[in-house]
C-alpha cells in the first residue's frame, strides 16, 4: 500500500559519483570545444567565419535526437511498467531535446542568412525539423492540460511515442527528398544542396568536428538529462507529499460531532 502511494524514491541529496564526473567533464569540455571550433580550426575558404556555427549546429541535432530517443524509450517503459520514474525521465528527455533542437534551429538560421541569403526557407529538412519542435511543444501543452497525474503520465507516454515519428522523419528526409538544399555532411549531399563543404578542404575542420560532436551530442545532453531527471523525481515526490498532506483527514475539533 505504501509502495503504491510513494510515487518514486527521492534521489539522494549527494549526486552520484558518475554524475559528478560528468559535470566536471562537460564543464571542461565545453570551453575546449569552443576553442577548437572558434580558434583552432581554419576559416572556411568559401563560407568564412559563419561556417564555424556548424560545429555546434549538427551535433546539437544529434543531441536532441538522443534525448528524444530517451524520452521514447522511457515512455514505452512507463506504459509497460507504470512506474513514475520512467515518466520523469521522459520529461527530462523532451525538455533537453527541445532545448537542443532549438539550438540547432537557431544556429542553422544564422548560418543560412549569409549562405542561403535568407533566415528561413521552407526546405523539407527545415520544415521537418520545425515540425519536430512543434510536436514536442505540443507534448508540453498536453502535459499541462491533464489534472490527474496518472492520466497525464499515460497520455504523455502515448504522445511521446507518436512524436518520435517526426524525429525519424527529420533524420531520413535529407536522404529521401532529392530537392532539399540542405547539405549532407556525412555521405553525398543532394545535387542542388547549397553551402556544402569538404571536411578535408580546410585544415582543422575535421578535428573541430571530432572534438565538438561528442560534446554536444553526448556529453552535454547526458549531463542535462541526468540533472533534469533528478529534479523531476524531486518534483514528483514533493507533489505527492503535498497532495497527501492537503487531503489528510482533518482531526475533529471540539464541538464537531
Amino acid at each position: 500500500m505504501n509502495q503504491a502511494i510513494e510515487v518514486c524514491a527521492l534521489p539522494a541529496e549527494r549526486q552520484p559519483r558518475a554524475l559528478r564526473l560528468l559535470n566536471v567533464l562537460t564543464l571542461l569540455a565545453l570551453p575546449v570545444g569552443l576553442y577548437v571550433a572558434l580558434v583552432h580550426a581554419g576559416t572556411d575558404t568559401s563560407q568564412g567565419q559563419v561556417q564555424r556555427l556548424f560545429y555546434l549546429h549538427m551535433p546539437a541535432f544529434f543531441g536532441a535526437a538522443l534525448a528524444f530517443g530517451g524520452a521514447l524509450l522511457a515512455s514505452i517503459g512507463y506504459l509497460y511498467k507504470r512506474e513514475t520514474c520512467y515518466d520523469s525521465f521522459a520529461v527530462a528527455g523532451v525538455e533537453v531535446g527541445l532545448t537542443l533542437a532549438l539550438v540547432n534551429l537557431v544556429s542553422g538560421s544564422i548560418w543560412a542568412r549569409p549562405i542561403w541569403n535568407t533566415w528561413w526557407t521552407w526546405d523539407p529538412r527545415l520544415t521537418s525539423a520545425a515540425v519536430m519542435c512543434l510536436t514536442y511543444a505540443a507534448w508540453l501543452v498536453l502535459r499541462n492540460g491533464i489534472e490527474n497525474a496518472q492520466q497525464r503520465r499515460r497520455m504523455a507516454s502515448v504522445y511521446a511515442i507518436l512524436a518520435f515519428v517526426t524525429v525519424i522523419l527529420t533524420l531520413i528526409i535529407i536522404r529521401i527528398r532529392p530537392d532539399t538544399i540542405h547539405p549532407a555532411v556525412i555521405g553525398p549531399s543532394a545535387a542542388n544542396a547549397q553551402g556544402s563543404f569538404e571536411l578535408a578542404a580546410t585544415p582543422g575542420v575535421s578535428t573541430a568536428l571530432l572534438v565538438n560532436f561528442p560534446i554536444w551530442s553526448l556529453l552535454l545532453p547526458l549531463t542535462l538529462l541526468w540533472h533534469r531527471y533528478r529534479l523531476q523525481l524531486r518534483v514528483e515526490v514533493l507533489e505527492q507529499r503535498k497532495a497527501l498532506v492537503l487531503n489528510a483527514p482533518l482531526r475533529p475539533r471540539r464541538g464537531d460531532s
Binding site: T135, A138, S157, V158, V165
Partner: protein
C-alpha cells in the same frame, strides 16, 4: 478470432453510422464548415487568380483536415455524453476492434465530405477537367486522417481543454500525411510531373500504415482509466 474482431469493429462502426443517419449532426456540421472554408479560401486568394488554381489541392486538404478535426471532436463529445467509451470497454471485444470501428466510421464521414468537395472545387476553382487520379488519393488520405484523429481525439477528450487541444496535438503529427497527400494531389492535378504520382501515393500508404499501427498499439492505453 479475426472474424470476431471484424464483426465487433463493424458492429461499432454500424452503430455510429446508424446514429448519424438519425441525427445528421456530424455530417451537417462538417459539410457546412467545409463549404465555408472553401469560401474563405477563395476570398483569401481573390487577388491571385492563377494562384487559385494552383492552390486547389491545398484548399481541399486543409479544409478536409480541419473538417475532420471538427468531426472527431463532435463524435467524441457524443460518445462522452453517455459514459464515454465505457459501454464499449465493458464488452468482450478487443481494444483494437473498438479503434477500428470508430476509425471506419470517422473515415467514412471524412470521405463523404471529400466527395462532396471534389466536384464543388472543380467548378468553383475553374479546374479544366476533373482528374480521376484524385479518387485514388482521397480514400487513403481520409483513412490516415481518421486513424490519427480517432486516437488523439480519444486522448484530448480526457484533458481539461478538450476540443481546443485536438488541433494542437494533431496538426504536427498529421503534417507528414498532409505533405504526402498534397504532393500526390498536385501530381494528379498536373502541377507536378505525372511520374511522381506513384511515389507519393506509396509514401501516403506507408504513412497510413504507420498511423494505423500506432493507433492499434496505443489506443488501449488512451482508453483505460
Amino acid at each position: 478470432m479475426l472474424r470476431d474482431f471484424l464483426r465487433a469493429a463493424l458492429t461499432i462502426a454500424g452503430k455510429d453510422l446508424r446514429a448519424e443517419l438519425r441525427s445528421r449532426e456530424l455530417l451537417g456540421l462538417m459539410a457546412l464548415f467545409a463549404l465555408l472554408a472553401i469560401l474563405v479560401f477563395s476570398v483569401a486568394l481573390e487577388l491571385d487568380r492563377p494562384g487559385r488554381q494552383d492552390a486547389v489541392s491545398g484548399v481541399l486538404w486543409v479544409t478536409l483536415l480541419f473538417a475532420s478535426i471538427l468531426g472527431h471532436n463532435r463524435s467524441v463529445a457524443l460518445e462522452r455524453e453517455h459514459g464515454g467509451f465505457d459501454a464499449l470497454l465493458l464488452a468482450p471485444v478487443a481494444r483494437g476492434a473498438i479503434f477500428l470501428g470508430k476509425l471506419l466510421a470517422n473515415a467514412l464521414f471524412t470521405l463523404i465530405i471529400a466527395l462532396l468537395l471534389l466536384p464543388l472545387l472543380t467548378i468553383l476553382y475553374n479546374l479544366p477537367d476533373f482528374p480521376p487520379a484524385l479518387l485514388l488519393i482521397v480514400p487513403p488520405g481520409c483513412l490516415g486522417l481518421a486513424a490519427i484523429g480517432t486516437l488523439l481525439a480519444a486522448m484530448t477528450m480526457q484533458t481539461r481543454a478538450r476540443d481546443s487541444l485536438l488541433p494542437v496535438l494533431l496538426l504536427p503529427v498529421a503534417l507528414p500525411l498532409l505533405f504526402a497527400v498534397l504532393r500526390a494531389s498536385n501530381a494528379a492535378l498536373g502541377n507536378l510531373p505525372q511520374a511522381e504520382l506513384q511515389t507519393w501515393i506509396s509514401l501516403l500508404l506507408l504513412i497510413d500504415a504507420i498511423y494505423l499501427a500506432a493507433g492499434f498499439l496505443l489506443f488501449e492505453y488512451v482508453l483505460e482509466s
